[in-house]
Amino acid sequence: MNIPSLTFLDFQPVLPALLLAVGGIVLLLTEVFQSAATINRAYQSMVALAFSAVAGAVAAATTLEPAREVFLGFGVSDPFSGAVTVLVCVGLGLSVLVSAGFLRHRNAERGEFYALLLFAGAGMSLLAMSNEFITLFINLEVMSVSTYALSAWLRRGTRPSEAGFKYFILGAFSAAILVYGASLLYGATGTTKLSELAGLLPAAVASNPGLTYLGAGLVAVGLAFKVAAVPFHMWTPDVYEGAPTPVSALMSAGVKATAFASLVRVFLPFAQDLGPNHAQLMTYAFAALALLTMVVGNLMALPQRNVKRMLAYSSVAHAGYLLLGVAALFARPTGGEGPLAVTPLLAGAEGAARQQTLQAILFYLLAYTVTSLGSFGALAALERREDEPRGTAWDLEKFAGLSQRKPGWALAMAAMMLSLGGIPPTVGFMGKLFIFRAAVDAGLVWLAVAGVLASAAGVYYYLRVVVYMYMRPSQDGVTVPERQWTTELALVLSTAAVVLLGVAPGTLSAWLGKASVLFSQ
C-alpha cells in the first residue's frame, strides 16, 4: 500500500483558507459563551476583519511563488489562485465592515453571520485552487451553502427567506447539472483531474465527441449559473434584493470572481489542447453568452427604480464584460501576435497573449469587487429597516438630495456609479479598457464594439443615481440612519481604491500581470 506523502508545501497554499475557517470556528465558539446579561458583540466584526486581513496578507505574500500541484494534483497552487484569494479577502474584509453597521442597526449581529461569511471565503479560496471536479464541486458547495444561509439571515417579512429558498433551489438545480456534466466528462476521459484531462481530451473528442461536449456543456451551464450569465441569471435580482445588502455585495463580488476563476481553469484545456475548430466553437459559445449577458443585463437595469435591483442587473451586465474577456482568452490570437501589443511578442506569443487577457480579467474582477462593495456599502448605509417591508428601502427617491444631507456618502456613491459606468478617472474605466483591448487583440472587434455600446447604455442608469443625489431636492421628512464608522471606513477605503487605481493602475496591473499564471503541465 503506497501512502502518498504530503509535506508542508502541500498545506501552505491552503493556509489562507485554513485561517478563514479557523476564524469562523473561533467566532462560533465565542458566540456560545455570550451570556444574555452581558452581550457584547462588537469584537466579532473585528475578529472577522482581522482573520480576513491576515489571510489576505498571507495569500498576497505567497502569490508569486512558482505554480505547482498540491495534494496529488487535486489542487494547484499558482499565482492565479493566489491573486483570486487576495481578491476574495479584500471583498470579505469590506463586506465585514459594511455588515457590522448594517447588522447592528437591525439588532441582528451574531457570531454565526461572520462565521458563515468566513466559511464562504474559505470555500472561495479553496475553489480557486481546486483542480479536480470532485474537489471543485465540494468547494463550490461550501461557498454556496454559506451564501444560501446568509441570504436568508434576516427573517422579517417574506423577502429574505424567499430569497434564500429560491437561491437554494436553483443553486441545487445548477449544481446537479454541473455534477452530471463532470460525470459525463469522467466517462469520456476516465479522469476527474483537470491536469490529466488536458492530455486525455484530444483522444476523448476523437472517439466520443458527443459525450465530451455534452459533459463540457453541462459543466459550463453549472458555472454560468454561479456567474449569473444570461439566461442563467434569473435568480440574481430576486436573491440580491432579498439578501442582506452586505451579503448581496459579497455575492456580486466574491462568488462571481471565484466562479470565473474556476470557469477559466476548467475550460482553458478545451481551448488550448483541442484543435482550432474546437477553440473557435468555445470562443463563439462564450462570445454569444457574453453578448447576451451584456445586452440583457444593461437593458433590464435600465427601467429599474429600485437601486438594489438595478445593482443586481448591473452585476449581470458586468458578468457579460467578464465573459467577453473569457471569450478572448479562448480565442486563438490571429497571426500569433496581439495587434494592440505594439512590441512584437517573440517567443510563446500565444501564451503571452493569454497572460495579458488573464491579467485583464483579474484586473476587472478586482475593479468590480471594490466598486460593487462600495456601491452596496453606500446602499447599506442608506437603507432603513422600517422601509424594508414596504419594499421602498432602495427606491431611487431615497437618493434624492443626498449630496446635501450626506455629502460624503453621495461622493462615494457617485464615484462608484462612475466606476460602474466606466468613466475615467476611475478603476472601472481602466478595467473596461483592459478587457476591451484584450477582446480586440483576440480579434473579437465587433464584440468589443457591442460591449462599448452596451456600457454606453449603462451610463444612463448609473448617472440617474448621480442625478438624483446631486440634482434633486431631498424629500421632506426623509431621515437617514445614523452613521456607523465601520460602514464609513468601508466607503472611504473603496472610494480611495476606485479613484487611486483609476488614476495610477500601473503597480497593481503589473502585479496582476505577474500573477496571471495558471498551472499547466
Binding site: I3, A120, I138, S146
Partner: protein
C-alpha cells in the same frame, strides 16, 4: 446472456418504473414509498458492480434516514384533498417539462452513440473494489483534499441549517 446481465435489466426496469411512480402517484406518501423502491433497486445495481459499501450506505442513508425525513415532512404538512389536485398547466411547466424531456433525449442519443455503450462492465473490476477497506484507503490518501473539504462543507451545512431554522435573530 449472463446472470449479471439479466439481473441488471431487472433492477434497471425496477428503478425506472418506481421513478415513474414517484412522479405519477397522486398521494405523496405513495410517491415517497416508490422512491424507497427506487433507492433499493439502485442499491442492488451497486452490488452488481461490487460496490458493497455504497450499496449499504445507499440503503442506510437514503432508504432509511432521508426517507424518514420525507415522510415526516409529508405528515406535518397534513395535506388535504384540495391540495392534491393537479396544478394548473402553466407556460413555465410546459417549457420546463419539454426542456427536461429534450435534455433527456439528447443524453440518451449521446450515450447511445458512445463507443462501448451497452456492454456490461460488471466483473471487470476486482472483487476488492468497493470494499470498506479499499474505500478508506483511497479516501484517506488520494482523496484527502476533497475529503477534508467535505468536513468544512458539513460544518457550514450544520451552521446554515441552524441559522435558517432559528425562529428569530
Amino acid at each position: 446472456m449472463s446472470v449479471e446481465n439479466v439481473l441488471f435489466w431487472v433492477f434497471a426496469l425496477g428503478i425506472v418504473s418506481s421513478a415513474f411512480l414517484v412522479i405519477l402517484a397522486r398521494n405523496p406518501v405513495h410517491s415517497a414509498m416508490a422512491l424507497v423502491g427506487a433507492f433499493f433497486f439502485l442499491a442492488a445495481e451497486y452490488v452488481l458492480l461490487w460496490a458493497h459499501t455504497i450499496a449499504v450506505l445507499q440503503v442506510l442513508v437514503y432508504a432509511g434516514a432521508i426517507m424518514v425525513l420525507f415522510l415526516f415532512v409529508i405528515m406535518l404538512l397534513s395535506l388535504t384533498d384540495a391540495d392534491l389536485q393537479p396544478g394548473q398547466v402553466t407556460l413555465a411547466r410546459v417549457v420546463g417539462g419539454a426542456s427536461a424531456a429534450g435534455l433527456c433525449l439528447v443524453m440518451v442519443e449521446t450515450l447511445s452513440k458512445t463507443k462501448g455503450a451497452g456492454q456490461v462492465i460488471a466483473g471487470e473490476q476486482t472483487q476488492v473494489f468497493g470494499t470498506l477497506a479499499e474505500m478508506g484507503r483511497v479516501i484517506y490518501t488520494q482523496y484527502l483534499f476533497p475529503f477534508e473539504a467535505v468536513s468544512l462543507l458539513l460544518l457550514v451545512a450544520i451552521v446554515g441549517a441552524v441559522v435558517v431554522a432559528k425562529a428569530r435573530i
